[in-house]
Amino acid sequence: MNENNIAVKVEGLTRTFGDFTAVERISFSVSRGEIYGFLGPNGAGKSTTIKMLCGLLLPTGGNGTVGGFDIVKESEKIKKTIGYMSQKFSLYDDLSVEENITFFSGMYGVTGKNKKERKEWVLEMSGLKDKRAVITKTLPGGIKQRLALGCALLHEPPVIFLDEPTSGVDPVSRRNFWSLIYEMAKGGTTVFVTTHYMDEAEHCDRLALIYRGKIIAEGTPTELKVQYMSRYVLEIETDRTFEALEVLNRSGFETALFGSLLHAVVDDTKTAVPEIEKELEKADIKVIRIDKIMPSLEDVFVTLIESA
């Protein structure tokens, strides 16, 4: 990878709070224009990492650069080149939409003609063109998130950090949000995004799985699935899902519920499929179909955590 082409690079980054290690010796790098995902459950250390990258929190070990600037010594330079959207909504609730935009334009030093253009752009992308005078507190969650993203993008930063931008947002808004992220990346912006939604991680160019402060796997979504799943996943559709789940678990298959379907993780499909059919038949459950499928990231995650 060309050094000039690297937006974020960290080595052995560590952060402890007292005796507790929230982030432990993580290393990775993100290329320019990439959507890099940080996937992990609550408390894994995602926010702690992102705050260190944005120059908001000092690491207790390791080092890193963002846009070529050192995250410890040049944090104020980093702040000029990034946009940060924190996990908790952190615009001013008691200000109107437009007042928030104007304020952050001021903070980012967006001036002149550009200022008006960028304001209109944010109003447009957040769908708040006719609601510019509305007090931010009264907006629905999804819209607030878009406004927060817009405000973090006012100065058109080359690198943006989004900390769980879609948590607590309805599925339609989530999809819209991701199309915005795609758009940014297409325009050459580097996007570093954390999430605990497995399905969202699929949207990333590359991702790191983080668990208890450590990166347990890294790669493109496909690489992760191929590389880390040595076993196979069977998708099973029956006429009585819950009873089928019980039957299969009782007869020793690692089975889990996936919506109205079942996923069973097996070592060998050739022997497993007839066996499953036999067990279900014995219980008088009708099998509609059994397919071998590509494992989801969730399957990968579960497998990795079990072996971790």
Partner: protein, 369 residues
């Protein structure tokens, strides 16, 4: 440092203050309330002063004099006693504020054309009332002298006055300017004590410190709207002093405005520093209250004269900006002093402001701890 950024912060802060009617009302009502409470506590209406009379003379004349007091609206005679020693009890228990003692030879002296003495004791713990009471006493005795003796030319009755509890007997004119200094010390620190802590508590600070805003821009921008409020508070206080409490304003209003601004800058910076360090609104406001009220009240020279304090306390008073502001206000109000006579106070006030502002800048970190 970029001015547009300072302006953006000031503007945002002003909008937030405006949208919070409760704190806005507090900000403007506080000086009025405090000035009323403390101001009126020392300028109570001086009607019906409870008075005890000790008539040792027991003559026609002495009874007439006592009746003269009783007839006026200013005094209400609550009791008559027959020995000097009984007076103490009434004053100590607070049952009477004034005691008038007519000596044994009172009427004898008047008859012989000698000056007659009248002894008056006033509870001076409320100095303003005491001052006014003394004025009334002179008026009543003067009237009495005229009435009974047209023959004698020198005043017939000489009032010997002793003030208990507050021998210097400062008048309201002295107290109100000092009180303004004390009140403004507290208000200035309280005004800014919430502003930074609130951003931490509401979570808005995280976004703010991720932007390229500089510490000085942030602090200056935040100070501005509170400076405006503090200045208006000061204006309200001065207007109340002049028009409600009738304190004369002999000095220059411009000088008053200039030095008040300097004082405000220091006081507001102190509140800001407290807010930065405390990170919690509740804690910050409590610290601001304690850190300003007690020193300003007790160690500024407002309550107790600084030269009479123990040496170590005297040294401490140099670090208390209210000390300089109390004397600045008294001097401008009552003596009409010009700037060159207030150089010492002005420079130390300026020094205090600069030091506190610098510490606030140093303490503010654009990081999460």
């Amino acid at each position: 440092m970029k001015f547009p950024r300072i302006r953006a912060i000031a503007k945002k802060e002003l909008i937030q203050i405006r949208r919070d009617p409760l704190s806005l009302a507090m900000a403007f009502l506080m000086p009025v309330m405090l000035l009323f409470i403390f101001g009126y506590a020392i300028t109570l209406d001086v009607n019906n002063l409870k008075t005890v009379v000790c008539d040792l003379d027991k003559s026609m004349l002495s009874r007439e004099l006592a009746a003269q007091f009783g007839k006026s609206d200013y005094f209400t005679i609550i009791d008559r006693v027959h020995s000097y020693g009984e007076i103490d009890g009434y004053l100590d228990r607070g049952e009477a504020l004034v005691a008038i003692s007519i000596p044994r030879d009172f009427s004898e002296n008047i008859k012989r054309g000698r000056p007659a003495e009248l002894q008056v004791i006033v509870d001076g713990s409320d100095s303003n009332t005491a001052t006014i009471a003394l004025g009334y006493i002179s008026a009543v005795t003067g009237l009495f002298s005229e009435k009974i003796a047209v023959r004698q030319s020198p005043p017939l009755i000489e009032t010997r006055v002793r003030v208990w509890f507050n021998e210097e007997l400062e008048s309201r004119n002295y107290i109100i300017p000092g009180l303004i200094a004390v009140i403004m010390s507290v208000i200035a620190a309280l005004l800014t004590s919430l502003t930074v802590a609130r951003e931490w508590e509401r979570g808005t600070m995280e976004q703010l410190i991720s932007t390229p805003v500089k510490t000085q821009e942030f602090i200056l921008g935040k100070l501005m709207p509170y400076f405006l409020i503090g200045f208006i508070d000061m204006l309200i206080s001065v207007l109340l002093a002049v028009f409600l409490f009738d304190v004369p304003m002999k000095g220059s209003l411009f000088l008053l405005a200039g030095l008040s601004s300097l004082f405000l800058f220091g006081g507001l910076s102190l509140g800001m520093l407290i807010s930065i360090v405390a990170k919690s609104q509740l804690v910050a406001s409590q610290i601001a209250m304690v850190a300003t009220f007690l020193p300003a009240f007790l160690l500024s020279g407002f309550m107790y004269a600084i030269p009479n304090m123990p040496k170590p306390l005297q040294v401490i008073t140099y670090a208390i900006p209210a000390r300089y502001f109390v004397s600045i206000l008294k001097d401008i109000f009552l003596k009409g002093n010009a700037l060159h006579m207030l150089l010492f106070e002005t420079s130390l006030l300026g020094l205090f402001a600069l030091v506190v502002f610098a510490i606030a800048n140093k303490k503010f970190k654009k990081r999460i701890e």
